[in-house]
């Protein structure tokens, strides 16, 4: 049993073996182990639900893999609404021929990530498709969490005068992935920041009375997420360029590839927008956690240019930070 065969997705004995020997081994819990057609859950009150599909290339990267990413990514999205993530569903689409050892490594890593985040995988599905129909492995996860705040943070709630905070260094995940892409040969001593932020988010929301926006700047990076918030709230996000934490390795790598770290993906960072008077307290909660150790204020919300993100440069000049058309491509000019 060294490679995934089409039979493993057939629903027959091979499928059952895969479920028993692999998925239940690493992801099993009282709900999942019942193996009924659906998971039996008891939940009360308002819910936060999010779904995401993970297709990262390469599937193993410095600091993580597609399995841990599939847990962290969805856990974080659920948490950003002011919720405690409780349950995950997961759907796998496997390419015929995927080494079993790779699959096991991925599922084991998912199990570990779920355990650390304190969520249960309660239902799942596996399909195997012919070689070439997908690239190795795609994973979809859906997360469910209980909202525990009276007013959920939302991209629509940024108000002029609010402070904009970031929980740490930006661009680590994006650069770590790029460094392993074919055709781009460079070595960056940078690990993906991929991590579940829910415990930190819970502590933050329990200690700070008013948080307007929480968002994790994943694909498209900090620049794209700030543009979304500026648009949703009809405000200007004014960012001080020199205050944005970027590791020298990341800005170094970006410099010769012609990329901007503000558009690189993060998988373990969040933006927090809240009234300025709570900014210091929020920063000290964030800094008390290893995942928020480098948290800083990077800007303020204004009314001047609604829907825009304006960057103040170290020279004191300004420029627009627009959303990109598509993925950033390495360039020479």
């Amino acid at each position: 049993m060294d490679r995934v065969l089409l039979d493993y997705g057939s629903g027959g004995k091979a499928s059952h073996r895969l479920i028993g020997e692999l998925f239940l081994k690493y992801l099993g819990n009282a709900v999942l182990n019942r193996l009924d057609d659906a998971a039996f859950l008891e939940i009360n009150g308002p819910l936060s639900v999010s779904t995401d599909t993970f297709t990262v290339d390469p599937i193993f990267f410095p600091g993580g893999d597609i399995g841990s990413l599939a847990v962290h990514g969805t856990v974080n999205d659920v948490a950003m609404l002011g919720a405690r993530p409780k349950y995950l569903t997961c759907g796998f689409i496997l390419e015929e021929g995927l080494p079993m050892a790779d699959l096991e490594r991925i599922v084991e890593s998912m199990g570990r990530a779920a355990h650390e985040a304190g969520v249960l995988v309660v239902t799942g599905d596996t399909k195997v498709v012919p070689r070439g129909a997908v690239d190795k492995i795609f994973i979809n996860t859906t997360g469910i969490g209980e909202i525990f705040v009276a007013e959920a943070p939302s991209g629509h709630r940024a108000r002029p005068g609010d402070a904009i905070l970031i929980s740490g260094f930006v661009g680590d995940h994006g650069l770590a992935i790029l460094s392993k892409r074919e055709g781009l040969t460079f070595e960056a001593p940078v690990l993906s920041d991929c991590a579940s932020l829910n415990h930190l988010i819970v502590r933050l929301l329990e200690s700070i009375p008013e948080v307007h926006v929480l968002r994790d700047p994943t694909r498209g990076g900090v620049a794209t997420t700030l543009n979304e918030i500026a648009g949703q709230s009809g405000v200007e996000c004014r960012i001080l360029e020199s205050s944005i934490p970027v590791r020298p390795e990341v800005s170094g790598g970006c410099s010769f590839l012609g990329l901007d770290p503000l558009y690189l993906a993060n998988e373990g960072k969040f933006l927090c927008i809240l009234p300025q008077e709570h900014a210091e307290a929020a920063l000290s909660v964030m800094r008390s956690d290893p995942l928020g150790r480098d948290a800083v204020q990077i800007g303020t919300v204004r009314a001047d240019h609604p829907g825009k993100v304006v960057l103040e440069t170290p020279l004191g000049g300004t420029r627009l930070m627009d959303m990109l058309e598509g993925e950033q491509l390495p360039r020479i000019c």
Binding site: T185, T318, R319, P330
Partner: protein
Amino acid sequence: MNLFDNFKDPELCKVLLDRIHSELDGELRFMEVCGTHTVSIFRSGVRSLLSDKVVHLSGPGCPVCVTHDSEVAAFLELAGKNAIITTFGDLMRVPGPDKKSLKSAQAEGARVKIVYSPFDALKIAQDNPGDKVVFLGVGFETTAPAIAATVKVAREQGISNFSVLCFHKLVPPALDALVGDPDLKVQAFLLPGHVSAIIGVEPYRFLAEKHGLPAVVAGFEPVDILQALHLFVTMRGEGRAEVVNAYRRVVSDAGNPKAVSVMNEVFEPADALWRGIGLIPGSGLTVREEYAAFDAMRVFGMELKDVPEIKGCRCGDVLKGKLSPEKCPLFGKACTPAAPVGPCMVSTEGSCAAYYKYRV
């Protein structure tokens, strides 16, 4: 602090800005002809700090922007020939005839790989001996020697499945064509630092000697750019027009003779088409006969096809400084970074794209 970081120093920039503004008499209309200058001027915020009297114009300084429709058509034709296309990321979204691009060709099944260096493309050729691997050679004098060096290595190592589609462009002939236009509204040229690192300062002398235009070879940090602007102001005050090398830490007046000789060994000058401008004599490079086996045009038996100019596009006037991007009737409406019409909107560093992206 690294010695070279002094060229980013905000305090020094402030002093230079004050000097420029207090010493400037009248209006200063300067043109840069390097997309990295365009981007640097906007990204650093220098542009937002200049008074209205200092008018920044972006010339034909981005090799991607000036890649002609008929050349993009050739890329796309190659993409249909089952070769592995290797390219700088810059070219992926450049639209050709019928709004097709390498991105859309890739979606239709073409094998397109983005590389950082032409040398990486050569490795792809070595790793795929059963395939023909073509590198899309665009760029000015800075980039052409790197591609020439790669072709030389390919020949030395007998890598016969590698070739280059050569659409390189040369800066001085384009400048010559620009300043030959009596309607040109430019008073000074900011010259491209990294092109100059290769060709040196001599090829630009005609700007001052024939046309009385001051020109400064400048680096890309904010201090470099402001220093060049201050030099324009000083020269005007003293009634001088010279070609000055202000990027001496990188550019020697003689340039880099070794790089020039590698470039000249593999390529020779040829007429070239510039998007938005048209044909400029002697402004391009083509592969020499001795290296014909590495010339994709010859290997695949291709010829450049006639492609009509784009209707309504005023990029030619923008590139000559006659029209500011937002005055073009297409700007921001029919022509945006998502659906670019002309060269100036095509690349991230095109002047229209920079206007669209960075101006608050």
